[in-house]
């Protein structure tokens, strides 16, 4: 099998059958009254992993973290840390620190005192606390604000204090609930990389909740995509993007074109999909889809080539249409091509040259084409 994307580092304990998971959720369910926030969820996280939870608002991400931190007990199922069942262990005895989505900064303490709080609790010496606090303030770039109270800070600054406070103790497991949401793009990117460095340097295990896919992709070793209290897929960023396991995941992560059809014929892995209007798509790998089953062919916009002339003879998967809409985004242009069967397909092209010989414009005839391995066949 061809490898997907570049592998950031050769860290992949999840592929190693010998490796023991560090944190295990075993069939965990959490109900609030008759509402099920987390539904029969199983998940393994490995030591030193940077793990991201991605999902729509209300899908149970914070609840999952709160169970791991000890603020909620699972209604059923077990949570294991290093093989030890965490049930009944109070939050202050768990080697887990959490950065709260609401920050939960102590309003009567200065920034410094907030960051030092957990260290004092551990009985660290004064000098060590001072140097650790200084280091944390530097990490979040709040050196000048050490003496301020939380109410004298901006939203983004408060978020950084909350981050510093949770990182300060260097817990074995750090849970970050939307750690960077309130920061501007530049500061967010800087902090992302600093967090990654910190995690690598100290060998910590991070579990991060985020709404920002790009952030999850940048930082995480693996991403769990959640929906309605369940995990839909756990995989590396590249796998989640290039080989989503379901329509939900494909749709949730990035932009995608979903072409519905049925498997007309299958030989080995390759197959032909017939669309509703008769368009035929040749795919190299149809996975488990059996002949005659209804499937979706998911293909990312950047994998589709748009041209103003019919592609050369012998090209696979060519469809003709009309430029319905286009958006110039600077680094690339997004085309919405309306096919003859009425379906609109998104395709994006990198603007690698400043001027184009033959620019496409609204209502121009256009041809799209893509390779047989450019998309995935989804049965779910």
């Amino acid at each position: 099998m061809k490898s997907l994307g570049s592998i950031r580092r050769s860290f992949a304990p999840w592929n190693d059958p010998e490796a023991k998971p560090y944190i295990s959720f075993e069939r965990v369910t959490k109900r609030f009254g008759d509402f099920t926030a987390v539904n029969d969820l199983s998940l393994d996280i490995y030591e030193r992993e940077f793990f991201a939870l991605l999902g729509a608002s209300g899908c149970g991400k914070s609840t999952l973290l709160r169970m791991l931190a000890g603020f909620e007990e699972p209604t059923s199922g077990r949570i294991l840390l290093e093989g030890q069942d965490l049930r009944g262990i109070p939050p202050y005895r768990r080697p887990v620190n959490m950065m709260f989505q609401s920050y939960a900064l102590f309003p009567h303490m200065t920034v410094e005192a907030n960051i030092a709080f957990g260290l004092k609790q551990d009985g660290m010496s004064k000098a060590d606390i001072a140097s650790r606090v200084a280091e944390m303030l530097k990490l979040v770039k709040l050196e000048q604000f050490a003496k301020r109270k939380p109410h004298q800070l901006s939203g983004g600054q408060r978020q950084r204090v909350a981050l510093a406070r949770s990182v300060a103790k260097r817990p074995k497991v750090l849970l970050l609930d939307e750690p960077l949401g309130a920061l501007d793009k530049k500061l967010r990117e800087e902090t992302q990389f600093e967090l990654m460095d910190l995690q690598q340097e100290l060998g910590l295990t991070f579990v991060v909740v985020t709404h920002d896919q790009e952030e999850a992709m940048t930082m995480a070793d693996r991403i769990a995509i959640m929906d309605k209290g369940q995990v839909m897929q756990v995989a590396t960023p590249a796998e989640v993007y290039e080989a989503p396991s379901s329509r939900f995941v494909a749709d949730f992560v990035g932009n995608v074109n979903m072409l519905e059809g049925t498997i007309a014929e299958r030989s080995d892995n390759a197959a032909t999909i017939t669309g509703a209007s008769g368009a035929r798509i040749r795919v190299e790998n149809a996975g488990e889809a059996i002949e005659g089953s209804t499937v979706a062919f998911a293909i990312r916009p950047e994998k589709i080539k748009v041209s103003s002339k019919p592609p050369a003879e012998g090209a696979t998967n060519v469809m003709e249409g009309e430029i319905w809409d286009l958006a110039y985004l600077g680094d690339m242009t997004v085309y919405h091509v309306k096919l003859s069967d009425g379906q609109v397909v998104k395709a994006s092209a990198l603007n690698s040259a400043r001027t184009m010989d033959d620019p496409l414009s609204w209502h121009d005839r256009a041809w799209i084409s893509f390779a047989p391995d450019a998309g995935v066949v989804l049965t779910r």
């Binding site: 202050y92 709260f100 939960a104 709080f117 957990g118 609790q121």
Partner: protein, 304 residues
Amino acid sequence: MGSQLVSAIANRAVILVPYLWLFIFFLVPFGIVLKISLSQTAIAMPPYLPVFGFGDGVSGFIANLRELSFDNYLWLLDDALYFNAYVSSVVIAGVSTFFALLIGYPMAYGMARAPESMRPLLLMLVILPFWTSFLIRVYAWIGILKPEGLLNQFLLWVGVIDTPLQIMNTNTAIYIGIVYSYLPFMVLPLYATLEKMDFSLIEAAQDLGCPPTTAFWKITFPLSLPGVVAGCLLVFIPAIGEFVIPDLLGGSQTLMIGKTLWNEFFSNRDWPVASAVAIVLLLILVVPMMFFQRAQARAQEQGR
């Protein structure tokens, strides 16, 4: 233009209302009492001299002013009774406030942590005693505390004691009366601060390694301080000048400034000395009031 003028005047008027209130209901009576405290007793109606009249003219007014003196204040210093009464009042009010806090804090905490649907009911229960006259409730305590009262009967029946406890007519009875009567004034401000406290702060403290008791002393209690201060002052200030409770529950030997004041007014008919007692009491109370103001200002500055 016209309407702007009207609204400008209306704005001023709105600001004036509280000042007018203070003037009519605080400053004017205060001025009258102050003036009486500077007068001399006399067998007359009203029982003091000089009496300012509108017909005196300027010279009469000045002559009257000349007659005012600080004699009554010097008298207060002279007689140790007054000093002792002030000290004993402050001690009794202080001890009562402490016990009210001790009992009121857990109550307020429990209320603030109760399920949201329960809170209005609990709040109602705290306020409920106000629906009965204060006097009747204090009288009811006599029925409970007297030697043949409910409490002693109960304790005798249980067998904890074999002779009735003498609670009536002691300071203990006064403490019980004051703590009982003023407990709602302690509970309500405490509840107000505890209720709006963010519970996730406690979670954060626990997450950072604090067992629940440490988290309480490091987070909950400091954050509830504005409520503690408000509650303590709301109990302490009226308790100092309390008259009914020491009169009904305390013995004849109880020394409290409220009782002394009553005696000066009604037994001795010495209005000027009584007024001087009242003015000094006011001065004693201004100090904690200023603390209260300071605490309030600080709480406002903290933005919560």
